[in-house]
């Protein structure tokens, strides 16, 4: 009998914080699993990672992961993460947000993190709703879909997160789904390795609220829908517009190499003859004490 891999246990507060609060079947668990496997693939030491989360079902990830974790106020994950990155440029900074956290209340931070192109990886769980507060419509709820604040359908337009990230200046954008868990892991790995602002949008299921309000069925049904409707960008160009009607793209959609913010900052310091952050850190006795 196949034994499930325990590789991700090293990154979990498995004895302290479980069981988790997510609904059975929620895609956030699959997302977290993919992220942790991506980190395991990269052999990342958990002490080199800072995970910064906002508030929401997605934000709960920072409770279960055994990195340096900072669970902040709703919408501010990327802003706090920017502070962490500036203070510790050598640390791998991962922000996790729901669509509300990253694009509604924190939308401003999203575009500015992308514009600065700061080396943060954002895992954006898009379940098309505000899960934690009860299924209200969010900036990614498609027009016409239902929310607890849109009882007869949403009259607003959703963001295209890819266009937003690209337009604002991110270096990397990929979209995955919780059905395509292996692909998700690959995309996350690439995002984590990418210098600059990288975003992985994860299409996830909130069957408890969004799914129920929109009659999309069980977790399994919603996840199967992802399989039926996702088209990999690699094959999308070979399809006709009719074939792509109602489908959505997954895979790597943006991968460029604009110089990253912290590096440019270092260069500026160098140009002006100052000591770089890294040099300062290496010399600080306080830092050494922490390392021991």
């Amino acid at each position: 009998m196949a034994v499930p891999s325990t590789i991700i246990y090293q990154y979990l507060r498995s004895k302290k914080k479980f069981p988790h609060v997510w609904c059975p079947g929620c895609g956030i668990g699959i997302t977290m699993g993919a992220l942790l496997r991506a980190l395991a693939d990269l052999e990342v030491d958990k002490n080199d990672v800072a995970m910064v989360a906002g508030i929401g079902c997605t934000g709960r990830m920072s409770v279960y992961c055994d990195f340096h974790t900072l669970h902040t106020t709703h919408g501010r994950a990327l802003a706090f993460a920017t502070g962490v990155k500036l203070a510790k440029p050598n640390m791998r900074v991962i922000a996790v947000s729901g669509d509300g956290d990253a694009l509604a209340i924190g939308g401003n931070h999203f575009i500015h993190a992308a514009r600065r192109n700061i080396d943060i990886t954002l895992i954006l769980v898009n379940n098309k709703t505000y899960g934690m507060t009860g299924g209200q419509y969010s900036p990614t709820t498609p027009s016409g879909k239902f929310g607890s604040t849109a009882p007869y359908g949403n009259v607003e337009y959703p963001f295209d997160v890819f266009e937003l990230a690209k337009g604002a200046g991110a270096n990397y954008f990929a979209r995955g789904t919780v059905y395509h868990a292996t692909l998700l892991q690959v995309l996350m790995k690439k995002a984590l390795e990418k210098k600059g602002f990288s975003v992985v949008e994860v299409i996830s299921n909130c069957h408890t609220l969004y799914g129920r309000l929109n009659r999309e069925g069980s977790a399994v049904k919603m996840i199967e829908w992802m399989n039926e409707n996702a088209v990999n960008v690699k094959v999308a160009s070979k399809k006709t517009p009719e074939e792509l009607e109602g489908k959505f793209l997954i895979g790597e959609m943006l991968n460029i190499d604009r110089p990253e913010y912290c590096e440019r900052y270092e260069q500026l310091i160098e140009r002006l003859g100052g000591k770089s952050k890294a040099q300062n850190e290496a010399r600080s006795p306080q830092h050494e004490a922490v390392e021991q």
Partner: protein, 388 residues
């Protein structure tokens, strides 16, 4: 009509009766049900308002500011982090003298993250220039909304009103509520006639730069308007009683205070528990009474001092405090008494923070403590082993 409904629904029903033009909010526990009920009512055409679920509380407060500036009756609801995020605009709404009404489902403030009830949120913005009312139960919360618009929209007052009701304890509790009919509501609350508003035919500028020569005067006028609102708040309570027969006090209320040697002071739903505790203690021959603060801003210092003048001991029970200083109600009540010859012994307690339960036994403990000796800023039911 008497209905068995949730506190949030009692609020939504009341807001509907006020015929708002614009409702804007961002969801946050435990406020969500209020706006969900309202969005359903708007969608069903029961309320002829524009409802918008904006991208944050900052946006929600800004939308209602704009709506009110344009002469509309505007409503929002929030709590905790949401109220703090509104902060900048909350001050602006008051400074612009716009009679917006916001319901706050009172909740603690993070960090640490906590979604349960206390009064830290409202107390954090107490200096913004709003009229701040605290409801004791869901019937009062329902009725307070009609009074709130009436008070705030009085032309000489023109100030925003914040209705505070305890999160979960009231918002999520089901109880019988007499829901006012639309005709009755209309006869109590006339349509909004703004003192000034943005009008193409009569252009005005709102939110101008006030140089040092007259900023102070604008703030002084706000202070005066808040003081002047006290008789208006009292009149609204009396008018309401005349029409509907229900009375919750005006700026304060008292309960079994005659002959009381010890008087509890509190705000919000704790009043209900305290009334029961007072009855129990009175039953045992203890001379206790209760003072409810219904209107926290403007602060009814004179009324409070007058109510406490024959009392030996006062036990002030607060669901918030000013970190690094002291109890907020405690300090303000002491200051109010300082201007009078009355000198009851004042004890101050912090209770129910972050949603900690307040059983009657805790109140009896408080009573025994103040009877033994005067107490200062005691955290009731503190787990001392956790703070060593």
């Amino acid at each position: 009509m008497r209905k068995f409904i949730e506190g949030s629904m009692a609020v939504a029903e009341a807001v509907k009766l006020c015929r708002p033009h614009v409702i804007s909010a961002y969801p946050i526990t435990p406020q969500t049900h209020i706006v969900e009920h309202l969005s359903q009512m708007v969608a069903d055409g029961e309320v002829n308002a524009q409802f918008i679920n904006v991208e944050s509380e900052f946006g929600a407060a800004s939308v209602v500011l704009g709506a009110s500036a344009a002469g509309g009756r505007a409503f929002s609801a929030t709590t905790s982090q949401g109220l703090l995020l509104m902060g900048e605009v909350i001050f602006n709404i008051a400074g612009l003298r716009l009679p917006v009404v916001i319901t706050v489902a009172n909740r603690s403030i993070s960090a640490p993250i906590n979604i349960w009830n206390d009064h830290s949120d409202a107390m954090a913005i107490r200096d913004a220039g709003w009229i701040m009312l605290f409801a004791e139960d869901n019937q009062e919360a329902h009725d307070m909304h009609l009074q709130a618009y009436k008070i705030g929209e009085t032309p000489e007052i023109s100030l925003p009103v914040m209705i505070n009701m305890d999160g979960f304890i009231l918002t999520h509790a089901f109880e019988g509520v007499d829901v006012i009919s639309q005709e009755e509501a209309d006869s109590f609350l006339p349509p909004f006639k703004p003192a000034v508003h943005l009008d193409v035919k009569n252009p005005v500028t709102m939110g101008v730069l006030a140089e040092p020569q007259w900023y102070m005067e604008a703030r002084c006028r706000m202070q005066e308007a808040l003081y002047e609102s006290r008789p208006v708040i009292k009149q609204a309570a009396r008018d309401f009683k005349g029409k509907f027969g229900r009375w919750y006090g005006d700026v304060i209320d008292t309960y079994r205070i005659d002959g009381a040697e010890t008087v509890f002071v509190a705000m919000g739903s704790l009043i209900g528990t305290l009334k029961d505790a007072v009855d129990d203690l009175r039953g045992k021959g203890e001379k206790v009474g209760l003072l409810k603060i219904r209107c926290f801003r403007p602060f009814p210092g004179q009324e409070i001092a007058e109510a406490l003048k024959n009392t030996r001991r006062v036990a002030i029970m607060e669901k918030a405090f000013s970190l690094g200083a002291s109890g907020i109600l405690g300090d303000e009540i002491k200051a109010a008494l300082y201007a009078t010859p009355y000198r009851p012994e004042i004890s101050t307690f912090f209770i129910g923070l972050g949603g900690r339960d307040i059983p009657k036994s805790s109140i009896v403990n408080v009573y025994n403590q103040v009877k033994a000796k005067q107490q200062n800023n005691v955290f009731v039911d503190l787990k001392t082993e956790l703070v060593k």
